[in-house]
């Protein structure tokens, strides 16, 4: 049994160019909202993950490191500078007032790992005192990260129980980190002793990677968590005044630049979304108006056949809603196809932490985007429907053409 909607359906099918154009517009609407929401959310997630990760309040690096390399890069890109300082500073700083937890890290240059196609960054840390990496461990096979054990970042193609080889040295993956949206995702963490072994192995193999390092008591950076009774800035100033060769940085300052770029990206995403909406809605309204002008005679005929004004509106609305609903679906699917597989790419391109929202959030964003674009379609079709339902049937029919 065919109903009024059939007229709308046939019109969609038999005017493919117009229908596809309207669908594409709706898809663009949905894509902009969905993509914008997911990207901005992923950046916000990445940012809070980054804040958490910097569970350390203060990061202390050799003074020359601050000029050598942008510190933000160290945290985000994993472009760790290969800077080193005397390990004795660790003991000295731990004595300072206000220093709660304190833990060293050692940065190593990239090496090609058997596990991965990309050069992995190996970071040495001290599992005993660490408070920055351990909280991210998602899965582990032992309580301890011992000699020749490694912890791998979430994006690496290596899993708990695997054996990896660096410079011929076999190491065991004992833990894997949760997704952080930062450089941790592509790094490998291990103990100081293991790093020592790896350096020696690389020298023996004459790979010469770490020739510049004296294998003595060096560290790259010190992470400090200030105890509750002290002010972070006081401790920072204390270190900077007393240790000219070091530089203490408030980690929140380090990421303030990121927070600024995040705000900028959010603003840009918002502006783009608004522009896209204004343009696409404008085109849709014009398209529907043109369509109603062009089909005036048809609507007058429908009216003469006994279609009420309400039925004419139903036809136009059915067309608008179905096209924008399908378009919205297409837009969201496109968004999923683009954003999810390319999130790694987006992350490196934007040089910002990027952590996709979880499935329920993505679903909410998708449904929201589809509803919005459908609503936009219904609204523009609504204008056209209002116009169509007011046509002067007698006038149109008497003119013949």
């Amino acid at each position: 049994m065919k109903k009024t909607g059939f007229v709308a359906y046939k019109n969609i099918i038999k005017r493919p160019v117009r229908s596809i154009a309207l669908m594409i517009l709706a898809a663009v609407l949905a894509l902009s909202v969905f993509g914008g929401t997911v990207i901005v959310q992923a950046l916000n997630n990445g940012f809070s993950s980054l804040e958490n990760r910097l569970g350390a309040d203060i990061m202390v690096v050799p003074y020359e490191a601050t000029t050598k390399q942008e510190l933000e890069n160290i945290v985000l890109q994993g472009n760790t500078g290969y800077f080193y300082m005397n390990g004795e500073y660790l003991d000295e700083l731990s004595e300072l007032d206000g220093v709660g937890q304190i833990s060293p890290q050692y940065y190593l240059a990239s090496v090609k790992a058997g596990c991965c196609s990309i050069p992995v960054q190996i970071i040495g840390y001290d599992p005993e005192t660490d408070f920055a990496i351990t909280p991210w461990i998602k899965k582990s096979s032992s309580d301890e990260v011992g000699y020749l054990d490694v912890v791998v970042g979430n994006d690496l193609n290596a899993f708990v129980g695997d054996e990896l080889s660096f410079f011929g040295v076999k190491v065991n993956v004992v833990a894997k980190l949760d997704k952080t949206g930062t450089s941790y995702d592509t790094q490998v963490f291990t103990t100081r002793e293991t790093i020592q072994t790896l350096i020696e192995a690389s020298l023996n193999k004459q790979l010469n990677e770490y020739a510049n390092i004296n294998s003595g008591n060096v560290i790259s950076c010190i992470l400090i968590d200030v105890d509750d009774t002290h002010n972070v800035d006081e401790v920072v100033n204390d270190i900077n005044i007393h240790y000219k060769k070091l530089r203490a940085i408030r980690t929140t300052n380090m990421i303030s630049g990121i927070s600024d770029s995040l705000a900028a990206v959010s603003d840009i995403a918002q502006i783009i979304t608004i522009v896209v909406w204004v343009v696409a809605l404008g085109i849709m309204i014009v398209a529907f108006f043109m369509m109603t002008g062009e089909r005036k005679k048809e609507f007058a005929v429908l009216r003469a056949m006994g279609a009420s004004r309400a039925k004419l509106s139903t036809i136009v609305l059915t067309e608008g809603v179905s096209l924008s609903l399908i378009g919205g679906l297409v837009g969201v699917i496109l968004g999923l196809i683009i954003i999810i597989p390319f999130s790694g790419y987006i992350e490196t391109k934007m040089a910002l932490p990027f952590l996709l929202p979880d499935a329920p959030m993505i679903i909410i964003a998708a449904v929201g985007a589809i509803l919005l674009s459908t609503f936009a379609g219904a609204l523009t079709a609504g204008f056209a429907a209002a116009r169509i339902s007011r046509i002067d049937t007698g006038m149109i029919l008497r003119s013949g053409e």
């Binding site: 049994m1 007229v7 003469a304 279609a307 009420s308 004004r309 007698g394 029919l397």
Partner: protein
């Protein structure tokens, strides 16, 4: 017996004409059609024929006066009611091309049924047969000739078995052969009990008519 009666109807439009803004396309007149008759209205273009027909067929509200279908004052109904009334009781063959281009021939013919969710191919098939367009069943309107399109429009106007049929210049764009086909069809429809009103320029139409009117400059005359 359903008589169609127009009582003191008049149609004015807003348009600059000789000093006033109001212009009467149809001056006050009475008009009656008896069941099963074929009435023809002739007259020069712009005389008000279509305006009169549209008032009679329920798609143009008169400025003054009433249109009665039997006892029913059709313009006392709300749009929804009147639309349904038109759908069930009034057939209308519009002037010129009136096909819905996205619908096939059979779908066009079933359109009045489709609008009310009551489509049924049997009636349409019968009408296509009667008007010799069965072979065009699934064709699209753009593939049809003027005569075929007009026969399709007549079939569409008859699908609901209306008591009244209006046809505005149904032969305006047709050749002689098709003109005769259309006139004969309308005559036959009237013979079967449907009240038919036709507006035309053709002098030949008189042969088929039970009653002939002239309409010039808004004045209706016998």
């Amino acid at each position: 017996m359903m008589q169609i009666r127009a009582e003191q109807i008049k149609k004015e439009f807003y348009r600059k004409s000789k000093g006033t803004n109001i212009f009467a396309a149809v001056n006050t007149c009475d008009f009656t059609m008896e069941e099963g008759t074929l009435t023809v209205i002739k007259g020069r273009s712009g005389g008000g024929k279509s305006t009169l027909m549209n008032m009679l067929s329920g798609i143009l509200q008169p400025t003054e006066g009433k249109i009665l279908y039997g006892d029913v004052d059709i313009y006392s109904m709300k749009d929804k009611e009147l639309s349904e009334y038109r759908n069930r009781h009034i057939g209308y063959v519009p002037q010129g091309k009136s096909a819905i281009v996205s619908l096939s021939v059979i779908e066009n013919i079933m359109l009045p049924e489709i609008l009310y969710g009551e489509s049924n191919e049997d009636g349409a098939v019968e009408l296509m047969d009667r008007f010799g367009i069965t072979h065009l069943r699934d064709a699209m309107p753009e593939e049809l000739s003027g005569g075929e399109l007009r026969r399709m429009a007549i079939a569409r106007a008859l699908i609901r078995k209306p008591e009244v049929l209006f046809a505005d210049e149904p032969t305006g764009d047709l050749d002689d052969e098709n003109t005769v086909i259309v006139f004969e069809a309308l005559r036959e429809i009237a013979n079967n009990g449907t009240t038919v009103l036709m507006v035309t320029h053709e002098n030949d139409a008189e042969k088929y008519a039970d009653k002939i009117y002239r309409m010039d400059a808004g004045e209706l005359s016998d």
